[in-house]
């Protein structure tokens, strides 16, 4: 299958635009200190749900178009420009996989570790979120939770998520 130069350019531009929207729109909508309207939030979450697949398809399409360019008689500068466009789409596909809230802002507690009350370094007036499940008591310092926000845990036979 071959496309005209114009068609190849348009396909590449669409790939760049779609991938850019997939990455940028959720970041634009869902950011701290900005009000989120219900409709725009719903759209942003929908984009986040499908962008892994969409950006992969976009990247594969862009790569295909770049290959077509290099196999064609197009001028060198067009081939280089197309390659840069394709590279941008691939970078956006990679960025779509990055959770900025955990990678850049608040890192998760991947493997929560716990200490006995007499071994932990906590001030007596530190505030704690505390639970008791199945007879097992657990505390989560609010200073820690204020950074990580989420801890997936298992207490007294129950899988819980501590949030703050």
């Amino acid at each position: 299958m071959s496309f005209s130069q114009r068609t190849r350019r348009n396909i590449l531009l669409v790939c760049v635009a779609v991938s850019l929207v997939c990455v940028a729109y959720p970041i634009y909508v869902i950011r701290p200190f900005r009000a989120q309207g219900p409709r725009e939030l719903a759209v942003a979450l929908l984009v986040m749900r499908y962008r892994l697949l969409v950006t992969v398809i976009s990247a594969l399409t862009a790569i295909g178009v770049v290959v077509m360019y290099w196999r064609s008689q197009a001028k060198v500068w067009r081939k280089i420009l197309a390659t840069l466009g394709g590279a941008l789409v691939c970078v956006l596909a990679a960025l779509a996989r990055v959770n900025v809230y955990e990678s850049l802002m608040f890192h998760p507690v991947d493997h929560p570790a716990f200490a006995a009350v007499n071994e932990v370094k906590v001030d007596k007036d530190d505030k704690m979120l505390v639970v008791k499940v199945g007879g097992i008591a657990r505390a989560y310092p609010i200073r820690t939770m204020g950074y990580h926000h989420i801890v997936n845990d298992f207490v007294g036979g129950t899988a819980i998520v501590a949030t703050y």
């Binding site: 998760p108 505030k127 200073r143 989420i150």
Partner: protein
């Protein structure tokens, strides 16, 4: 605090965004997005599902340690510990801007409140006022509730104001004498109660009040998710 089991699935949550300054979580298993404050899935295959609340309290460490000497505490993650919040961060956050506002009944957006949603109603209690009163006897909907401040003048718990096996809703009083372990006395039986809502002295030894879930939150966030909330002392 929420359970992680929903519809036969065990979910693992990650921070995924923010919605009017209340954060969103996403589960690895289905990719659904959940609102932190409500535990409701707002997008994805599990949209509309509700996580089950796990009762929790916000207590001062010394108070909790005395109650649970065998308890365990989440340790710091060393590589991020330098970025953890200062001790009074919820107070310092009072100066941070808000993106939604509900200036009703003289409430300021970042007033710290204790919110109870139970018995078909929701009610907010100004935290500073509760700490000052030390014992608040009020109603949420038609049910009597007690908000009890611990001996540390910081920790607060909420209970249903009914004693199992006793008719009606007896009156409770704060003990003024410094008696370790005893905080309240009820007018019906003369029993003394501790901060965990259990009798420590008197004829009802071993009986405990029913804890009521309570959330310490900023007014704007509580009001956003509880539009019909009333306010202790104001409505």
């Amino acid at each position: 605090m929420w359970t992680r089991d929903v519809g036969g699935l065990r979910l693992t949550f990650h921070l995924a965004g923010i919605n009017n300054q209340n954060f969103l979580m996403r589960d690895d298993e289905t990719g659904s997005f959940w609102q932190q404050i409500s535990g409701i899935a707002v997008s994805g295959p599990l949209k509309g599902s509700q996580l089950t609340l796990v009762h929790s309290d916000e207590l001062n460490f010394a108070t909790w340690k005395a109650e649970e000497p065998e308890g365990t505490v989440l340790k710091d993650t060393p590589q991020y510990a330098s970025q953890y919040e200062a001790k009074d961060w919820d107070v310092r956050m009072k100066r941070a801007p808000v993106v939604i506002q509900f200036p009703e009944h003289g409430m300021k957006s970042r007033d710290l409140i204790l919110g109870i949603r139970a018995f078909g109603a929701s009610r907010a209690f100004l935290y500073d006022q509760v700490v000052k009163e030390k014992l608040v006897k009020d109603h949420v909907g038609e049910e009597p509730v007690l908000l009890v401040v611990g001996a540390d003048d910081q920790s607060v718990r909420a209970f249903r104001g009914r004693i199992p096996g006793v008719d009606g809703s007896p009156d409770f009083y704060r003990l003024t004498a410094n008696k370790p372990g005893s905080l309240l006395m009820d007018a019906a039986t003369g029993s003394e109660w501790n901060f965990q809502g259990c009798v420590v002295s008197g004829k009802l030894q071993g009986v405990c009040l029913e804890p009521v879930a309570m959330l310490k939150d900023y007014w704007f966030d509580w009001r956003n998710y509880n539009p019909k909330t009333t306010i202790w002392g104001k409505t």
